[in-house]
């Protein structure tokens, strides 16, 4: 089955991101297809490369990145929600004349259209809210 996942909670503030991560691992284990994981509202903080949790805690942004790389997942961050909250890629940093950027690769910034498209093509959309 084709799934898309929406995450609206920031890591470490709520359990949403961690639950979503575990759910996604189960989806992959059970050989379902993940069309896209979309990060919205405070969920955009999942994509911050600058998150530094203590060594004995899960590094959620890098867990997402690893999972995405391993399984070629499309992990998309809502651009409007992200730039507002200070999560920028190189291109947006240039656009807004900021001296640095912090989007973890392979996360990509894109519009809400990516969420709607995911809803259109997926059999299930599962939201993990904060």
């Amino acid at each position: 089955m084709i799934f898309s996942i929406v995450v609206t909670g920031a890591p470490y503030s709520s359990q949403a991101a961690d639950s979503a991560l575990r759910y996604c691992k189960s989806l992959l284990k059970l050989e379902h297809q993940i069309h896209r994981i979309f990060f919205y509202a405070d969920g955009v903080h999942n994509a911050s490369e600058l998150a530094v949790p203590p060594q004995d805690e899960t590094n959620i942004p890098s867990e997402w990145a690893q999972l995405a790389e391993q399984h070629k997942l499309d992990i998309v961050v809502c651009i409007a929600a992200a730039v507002r909250r200070g999560v920028l890629d190189e291109n947006e940093a240039g656009r807004y004349e900021k001296s640095s950027h912090n989007l973890t690769l392979p996360f990509v910034l894109s519009g809400l259209g990516q969420l709607v498209e995911a809803g259109i093509v997926s059999d299930r959309v599962v939201t993990f809210g904060a």
Partner: protein, 111 residues
Amino acid sequence: MAEILINDQPVPVDPEGFLRNLDDWTPEAAEQLALQEGVQLTEAHWEILTVLRQFYQTFEMSPAMRPLVKAVAAELGPDKGKSIYLMSLFPGSPAKLASKIAGLPKPTNCL
């Protein structure tokens, strides 16, 4: 820092040519913003810009293409309320280009 000259006064714009301070917008500024984009404003352009600014004032958001077309149709009649007409005045992406010239906020790279 980039600027445009409006009545001989420098007004700051960002690298993409958007006004840095929306309060700097005046009809003269619109002429200059349009010229930057290769558009010479005519009466026909101004009608649209006025509808667009009204839309923003009423709803506090810039419209996407379809609602802009709808607003133009309501204000200026069905002949002008067509995307092809708006394209002829503001080539490429009319809602975006006209918003820029009308001095509305810089859109996030959405959709």
